[in-house]
Each structure stands twice: as C-alpha cells, then as structure tokens.
Amino acid sequence: MAKEFKTIKTEIRLPYELAYGATWTRFFEGMENEIIYGTKCSKCGRVLVPARSFCPRCFVDTDEWVETAQEGVLTAWSYVNYKYFGQPIEPPFIGALIRLDGTDVDFLHLIGGFDLSDFDLVRKTVKNGMRVKAAWSNERKGHILDLKYFEPV
C-alpha cells in the first residue's frame, strides 16, 4: 500500500471594509425601499441594472437614474444542487437572469417562491420567457438579498 503522507489544516481569515461609493450606496438604499435602480446611458440610451456610475460600452458617466419595473421575463436559469464552503444561499436554489421590463441588460438574481425540493417538478414549471416579479423581504437592510427572489406572476 502507498505510504500516507501528512497534511496540515490551515485557514485564512481576513477582514475587509469595501467602499460602495455613491452609485452602489444609492442602489442599496433603493433595495431598502423596495426599489430597483438602474441608470441610463446618455450615449447609447441603454438602461443598465443594477445602476452603474458609467456605461461599460460608451465609457461615459451615467447620471440619469431610473426606477426599473419590478417585473420582467426569465432569460436563463440553473437549478443549483451542490454545496461549497461559505455558500451564501442554501441549495437547492435557482440562479437566474431576468430582463426587467424597459431595461437593456439581464439582471442576475434568484427565482423562487415555489417548491424547489423536487427537481423534476421544477423542470416542468420553469420556462425561459416566463414572467416573474420581485418578492421583497420584510426585514430589509440595504442588501442585494432584500430582494428575496423573483417569483412567477
């Protein structure tokens, strides 16, 4: 039998305080108030969500704020059924791209509000193109998960 070699268990734990800056601060204030903020690019006219300080394509400041629709359509999804260390959301959950009405990019979040325990059932229920709407948490603290998920309309 091959010799077993020793190992060492270690971990790295480092504290950070990351600056949101003006744009993210306002976006998360929106979350606290059940508002999804986007910004509109004055050059290409696209409504970007979440709100940005600049348009990544035109590279100009985006200072026109837009309160986006709370509804949109599902453009892609994946049923996540595995675990990793420090996972912020307990599986199973459904990561999804949602095109909110009147916006020009997909918003990455979750879909939920229905039984996720049976995958075969989920596969029959969830369809690209289905309409979904924002469901908010009762305890909001200016965080991306103040928006619990998007649920089927």
């Binding site: 091959a2 070699f5 190992t7 270690t10 971990e11 790295i12 990351l18 949101y20 993210w24 970007l48 979440p50 990544p56 394509r57 453009t75 892609a76 999804w77 994946s78 049923y79 996540v80 059924n81 595995y82 990793y84 260390f85 420090g86 996972q87 912020p88 959301i89 959950f93 990561g95 999804a96 791209l97 990019v105 997909d106 918003f107 990455l108 979040h109 979750l110 995958f119 989920v122 596969r123 690209n128 991306i144 998960l145």
Partner: protein, 389 residues
C-alpha cells in the same frame, strides 16, 4: 508581425489527487519532465512565465515567488499571467509575445493548480465582487450551466437531443482518457450513467462536470533562430493566437452566442490563414469543463453552424475517428488543474502536430487548435499550432 515561435517540448505531471506531493514539488515534476524531454536545462532559458487560477485556490498568494526555485527561475526575468480559467492559454500567449517580440529566444511556460487542497468552488466564487454577483453565481457550474441553458433555448433545441449529445461527449471523452497516461479520471461511463447521475447545476449532471485535479504543465517555447540552432525538426509552430474579454457583469452581454469565443477564434484564424476550420484543422483541444458548453464552442469556433452542434456530435463528427476530432486527450472533462488546464490544451495540440501524442495521436495531424475560457463568462483564448512554419 513578430518573429516565428515554436513549441519544442512538453512536460506534464501525472494529474489527479496528488496528496503525495507538496505544491512546489508538483510544479517541479512538470519542469523536470520538459527538460528531460528536450535535453535542455534551466541555464538555457531566457525567462519564465507561470500562472494559476486565483492564487487563493491553495491559500498562497504570488505563486511565481513560491515556485521560483521549483521552476529554477532564480536570476531570470519572471512573469505571472492570470486570466481565470483561460490562464493556461494566456501563459502560452505571454511566452509567444515574449519571443515573437525579439526579447527572448527560449522561454519556460508553466501552469499549475492543486485543486484538492482547498474548496475550489468557494475560491472561484471570489472572482465575483461581494456586493451583488457573488451571491448568485454558484461557482463555475452555476454560471456556465446558465449559459448552456440559454444557448439550447435560443436555438429551439430539443432538450432530449441536447441531453443525449452531452452524454455522448461525456462517454467518448472518458473513453479517450484511458489513452492519455497523464489524465486524471479513468472510468468507463455509459450514456445512461451520465443521464441519470445527480443534478449539480441543471442541465449539468455529475458526469457532465470535470474533476478537481492537481497538476502542472511545463512547455518550452523557442524562436525560429533557436529551433535552427538546436537542429530540431519536430516542433509545433505557433500559427495563430487570439484573445478576447467581455464586460464584467454576467447579464451585460449575450452568452448564448459567446462573442469573446467567436472573436478570439476569428483573430487566430485570420493570423493562421484559416478560412474553413472544420476542414483545415486536424484536431482541436477545446476547453470543456462541462459537456454542454463544449457544443457551444464548436459553434462559436465555426466548426459548424449555430444550433447544429448536437446533431453533429451524435453523428460522430467530433469523435476520435470523426471529421474534426475534439479533445482526444479526454480534455478538461477528465483532467482539470485549472491554472495548468489551458496550457495542457496547447501542449496536447503541440504533441499532436509533432506526432508525439502516443495512444491518442490523431494520425497525420498537421494543424491543431487549443482553447481555454474563464471569468464569470468573460474570457476566451485560442492558440493554433502547426507542423510547418
């Protein structure tokens, strides 16, 4: 255009769960093998470039410092290149640029990862900022599965057919890995095994996913002047390179037709003078940690039209004895030490055109494509190699 550049030798570790060696010794295993293969030694080298996926995979930052001794880089110019999953091809690009520019004649390129030592998906999730995207990407399987799902719906592909084609890819690559002495996973699987394995991130199931591998790959790049000086005849000339990135946010660009993949391939084809890749390429090493995604790449690289890949896969077009064999090494699906993986693709492509691929040699291969991708769906890199200058 700069000076011609060739790959003159390849060294790989035996990839797998390598808890028998510490990380620097693993790196050195590949480095020693490339010197044994070529008969050269570290004194001959003008510089070293290495890379990993996020260094945090093993909890040690600045790995090129940690491995300076294992790569015998002391007293040499040293660079680190890091572009997420595409790191390996970017390392190859760095070596190419370095020599092609005329600044060096012989460069050692090393890619490495020891994925079994940490929590790979937790590490990968740190590539996304913790304000917004980190909550939802669910490691690499999460975002890349969403992309495949988007692709199959975009082209109205029948779910059952796509599922079968992905299973076919899994079966054939797992079979191929038996012919690659360095491959990690060597197991026989059936279509039924794949289709009934556990859902990881729908539509991806366990046997649609690559393993966590420990491994390293070392490749020697040389100028045409050095190839002549050493009197080498079997080398792999770099014919084309291409690389593209995309906007940071996952939802900002269309992932169903992945533009960075399309454009990176186009850049490499233009440089190599390739017009019809399915005919002109003899073999391709496509970066395929997920079976479904591999089909998207066939389409993005012009191996077939958009939405056509599943039918052609099931016909065997991309199998070992097909029109354009893809991943005869077993590919990323069977071996994925991420920071090394892209460079392994380039190394395998080079071995094919040098006629040194052993039991998984595609007979008479003269032109080969290698690829790697990464980010939260942002990066794609290509290197095309050929047997003739």
């Amino acid at each position: 255009m700069g000076r011609p550049v060739a790959i003159i030798g390849v060294g790989q570790t035996n990839h797998g769960r390598r808890m028998d060696v510490c990380y620097p010794d693993l790196v050195r295993e590949a480095v020693v093998r490339v010197y044994e293969e070529t008969g050269l030694n570290p004194d001959d080298i003008d510089g070293v470039v290495s890379g990993t996926m996020p260094s945090m995979m093993e909890g040690v930052a600045l790995t090129h410092f940690y491995f300076a001794d294992a790569m015998k880089a002391g007293g040499k110019p040293i660079l680190k290149t890091e572009t997420c999953g595409s790191t390996g091809v970017s390392i190859a690009h760095t070596a190419y640029y370095w020599i092609s520019s005329g600044m060096a004649d012989l460069i050692l390129a090393v890619g490495h990862e020891k994925m079994n030592e940490g929590d790979s998906q937790a590490t990968m999730t740190t590539v996304a900022e913790p304000f917004y995207q980190r909550y939802f990407i669910a490691g690499a399987p999460g975002v890349f599965s969403m992309q495949s799902q988007m692709w199959s719906v975009r082209y109205g592909l029948e779910e059952e057919k796509v599922r079968d084609a992905a299973a076919f890819i899994s079966v054939t690559h797992h079979d191929s890995a038996f012919d690659n002495p360095y491959a990690h996973i060597k197991m026989q699987v059936t279509m039924e095994d794949v289709k009934t394995s556990r859902v990881i991130t729908y539509p991806v199931r366990l046997l649609d996913v690559c393993p966590n591998s420990d491994g390293a790959c070392a490749v020697l790049f040389a100028s045409d002047k050095m190839v002549k000086k050493l009197g080498l005849d079997k080398v792999a000339w770099v014919k084309g390179v291409g690389y593209r990135g995309e906007e940071y946010y996952f939802g900002d660009s269309d992932k169903a037709v992945w533009q960075s993949a399309v454009e990176a391939a186009r850049q490499a084809y233009d440089m190599a003078g390739i017009k019809d890749p399915r005919k002109e390429l003899d073999v391709a090493e496509v970066y395929n940690p997920f079976t479904f995604q591999e089909m998207m790449f066939y389409e993005c690289f012009g191996f077939c039209g958009l939405g056509e890949a599943p039918d052609l896969v099931l016909k065997g077009t991309f199998a070992r004895n097909g029109e354009l064999p893809c991943d005869p090494s077993g590919g990323t699906l069977c071996t994925n030490p991420i920071g090394a993986t892209g460079l392994i693709r380039t190394a395998e492509a080079a071995l094919q055109v040098m006629g040194k691929a052993g039991d998984h040699q595609i007979p008479g291969a003269k032109t080969a494509l290698s690829h790697a991708m990464g980010g939260v769906d942002q990066f794609n890199g290509i290197m095309i190699v050929g047997s003739e200058l």
